[in-house]
């Protein structure tokens, strides 16, 4: 019969193809880009103080890793501590804004208006106040991260529809129960959206703070390398920063999936 194909032959032929298909498309693009970069720099004779080759940057990780790693840890610590404090301040603040008229009308507009001040502009001031240590870095991270957390938490806590709150009241829920069993779970997706925005801002905050005045951290390494025209080292530090940002985001996404399991299932069918 013509319609029946030999399954054995089919399998042997498809095997290498299937292997190629298993690798995500983006990996090919990335590898292609790196190859292009390497060749362009080598063939075009671009000096390494303008643009180093990917292999040179990779070598830099090997040669300079012993300095990169501890400095990356410093930056990571600032990011994590600042972010955690921003959450601990931001979420309760959002709750108070939703529940208190004074906070909503008297304080919330000030918080929103304060966002017109570029935080980078306050950084030198914070340096004067808190010195060169860890403190001004943490403060800047908090200042940057806390706003999306507050805004999104407020939005989320207000998102429970009227009928839901009526229903809660009709079942005799106390305001405490209404918060824990209705408003807060309803707000979780929005709160996590805020947290994810805050991760990127935390990393920016830490690096910028290190630019302005520090004696360790990846931002500090970039400034020093720049002064020495060591572009390769700058690239290595930038990649470290990107890795910190990406892993932080991915970890948070994992936590989100764990905290909001009902969401995951609904996304599963497409």
């Amino acid at each position: 019969m013509a319609t029946i194909t030999d399954p054995q032959a089919d399998r042997t032929e498809a095997a290498p193809l299937r292997f190629l298909k298993a690798v995500p498309m983006v990996v090919y693009t990335l590898v292609g880009l790196l190859v292009f970069w390497e060749l362009a720099v080598r063939l075009g004779d671009v000096p390494s103080f303008i643009l180093p080759t990917p292999t040179a940057i990779a070598m830099e990780f090997y040669d300079y890793g012993h300095r990169l790693f501890p400095n990356a840890m410093v930056t990571l610590f600032e990011v994590l501590l600042g972010f955690t404090l921003a959450v601990l301040i931001g979420v309760p603040l959002a709750v108070s804004i939703v529940y208190s008229k004074f906070m909503a009308k008297g304080v919330y507009p000030l918080i929103v208006a304060s966002q017109t001040i570029p935080k980078v502009a306050i950084a030198p001031l914070l340096l004067t106040w808190f010195g060169y240590g860890m403190t001004p870095k943490i403060v800047i991270v908090i200042l940057l991260a806390f706003f999306p957390i507050v805004i999104n938490s407020v939005m989320g806590l207000k998102s429970a529809p009227d009928e839901m709150l009526h229903l809660a009241r009709s079942m005799g829920a106390s305001s405490w129960q209404t918060f824990w069993k209705f408003r807060l779970p309803q707000a979780l997706p929005s709160i996590f959206a805020g947290l994810k925005l805050a991760t990127a801002l935390s990393v920016i905050g830490a690096v910028v703070a290190e630019f302005i005045g520090a004696d360790k951290g990846l931002g500090y390494l970039i400034v020093i390398a720049g002064a020495n025209f060591d572009v390769t080292r700058q690239f290595a530090a930038i990649i470290c920063i990107a890795l910190i940002g990406m892993s932080f985001f991915l970890v948070l996404e994992r936590v989100e999936r764990f905290a909001i399991p009902w969401r995951d299932k609904s996304d599963g069918h497409d």
């Binding site: 809660a168 009709s170 079942m171 005799g172 009902w262």
Partner: protein
């Protein structure tokens, strides 16, 4: 069970949503409130549920004055407002959780209710995994979990397609048959009101006022085929006529 007497007289803000309304509902009766959009039907239900304060007048449920959430009632809204983070079964059980009832009994009752609306296999499904009709069935089960004497429904089937609607009407009648429960059902569908009710309260457009009360004398249990019954059609004509005279329908 003493007689249920309710006297409404409400006013909301500057807009008078309801003219003074007098209404007497008998225990165990299925009453529909039928009227065009914006006639204050929902306001009336919210007042009866004790969820919003009234401007004047008073409501008594079994002799007790309503001045806070009516404890012995269950509510179903047009939106099912299921909690996304709870499974179907847990959504039904929240009623018992908040009322601090015996959870073992509540679980048995919830299982029984869900099985009466053919949701046996969906106890663990999240609301997002259920269809609109299934979701509304879960929300009805939630309202009935504590065997309320009074079931309040605000256009519960308004957002569903015609076929699901028919099925849910039958499901609802089956659920109501066993418990001697008073149902206060808000709708803007004439057919739905006739099919379900013992009495229909016809309301006028804003400001809402009781225009007429129509007794529906059709045998129970009701069957879908009854909708072609001459008596049923006569009721439809009568109610359509009332709304025409009120200017709700204009055919030219």
């Amino acid at each position: 069970m003493s007689g249920v007497t309710k006297v409404f007289d409400g006013r909301q803000g500057r807009v008078q949503a309801l003219e003074p309304i007098d209404l007497d509902i008998r225990p165990g009766e299925f009453v529909s409130i039928l009227g065009p959009s914006g006639c204050g039907k929902s306001t009336l239900m919210m007042l009866l549920a004790g969820l919003i304060p009234m401007t004047a007048g008073e409501i008594r449920v079994e002799g007790d004055k309503v001045d806070g959430p009516t404890p012995d009632s269950g509510i179903v809204f047009q939106r099912d407002v299921l909690l996304d983070w709870r499974s179907a079964l847990q959504n039904v059980l929240i009623q018992a959780e908040l009322r601090k009832s015996d959870m073992t009994k509540a679980r048995a009752r919830a299982t029984e209710l869900l099985s009466m609306v053919s949701l046996d296999d969906f106890h663990d499904a999240y609301p997002k995994e259920l269809s609109g009709g299934m979701r509304q069935r879960v929300s009805i089960c939630r309202a009935l979990l504590h065997r309320p004497r009074l079931l309040l429904m605000d256009e519960p089937f308004g957002a569903l397609d015609a076929m699901t609607r028919d099925q849910l009407q039958i499901d609802l009648l089956r659920l109501c048959r066993d418990d001697k429960m008073t149902v206060f059902f808000i709708t803007h569908s004439i057919t739905e009101a006739i099919f379900l009710s013992d009495r229909i309260v016809v309301m006028t457009p804003r400001p809402g006022r009781v225009e007429q009360i129509v007794d529906i004398d059709l045998p129970r249990p009701r069957r879908l085929a009854m909708r072609e019954d001459p008596k049923f059609i006569e009721y439809t004509h009568q109610l359509t006529g009332i709304f025409k005279s009120l200017g709700v329908f204009r055919e030219e």
